[in-house]
Symmetry: C2
Subunit: 156 residues, 2 copies
């Protein structure tokens, strides 16, 4: 997959979470996944259609998601409830919007569906496509926790 | 939400699973969900864009999913592994295709993204939108197990 398809999602993820939650997050090196499994305690998923069909997801460890939402709300959140899930959906929606705007500038007109948020300890997500799956690990400084960005577009 | 937007998904779900797995499944009465939570052990999710933005999901109890895939493969499957997840994705892709073809006939041109499949005992899925969420419970005869279809489209 071309870097120009992936980089907008990395930048938007960093930008949205740092802006919304005043946290310092660091992307690791993107890698091509052999197996299509992301694990997490909270995941937000957005389907995409248009110039390229695909999907992307952000899968968070519970500790990171609770810290993000606590900072967004200015109130300590301790449980993965409706409010936290809504916030996870809001984040991925903003990442989707920013990344797709960047892709449009690069010539790819891509629509985003409404997000779905999955909660459940250590669930697994698979993007079902023959196309390559790119994963980008992120770490969050204050908690030392992690989350993973995954993107998959159909092959040409 | 208009029945003409929901019925194609109910019919396609029944049609695809009965055809692919030679099982008898029965849809229950669709209902409007107050809370946006579907629970299951395996869920397939497809984002949709176009005339209406939305998403739909099929959330299966483990026993039903394993029976469906065992029948599709002609081989007893006992674990929610990659093969089962791929099959769950294939099913939802076919439902998506059939339902959207029907919607096109009714004048709604809607694209489907690539499916995502979630595995993890008793996970929860929320469709993040202000629009109404419709759920349809299904039962499968041979196992007595259940699964749930959920559809959400953005409001007008």
């Amino acid at each position: 997959m071309k870097a120009e398809l992936v980089n907008p999602f990395i930048l938007a993820t960093k930008n949205v979470i740092e802006t919304m939650a005043s946290l310092k997050i660091s992307p690791g090196k993107p890698y091509l996944k052999k197996e299509a499994v992301a694990t997490g305690d909270v995941s937000s998923i957005v389907g995409m259609t248009g110039a390229k069909n695909g999907s992307f997801s952000l899968s968070f460890e519970k500790v990171v998601m609770l810290q993000i939402v606590s900072n967004m709300f200015g109130e300590k959140m301790t449980v993965l409830n409706d409010e936290v899930a809504e916030a996870a959906g809001e984040i991925v929606n903003m990442v989707s919007g920013q990344a797709r705007q960047e892709l449009e500038t690069a010539g790819y007109l891509i629509d985003g569906a409404i997000p779905s948020v999955v909660t459940g300890e250590n669930h697994e997500i698979r993007h079902i496509s023959e196309g390559p799956k790119i994963a980008v690990p992120f770490s969050e400084e204050s908690t030392g926790g992690h989350f993973t960005l995954e993107i998959c577009f159909e092959s040409e």
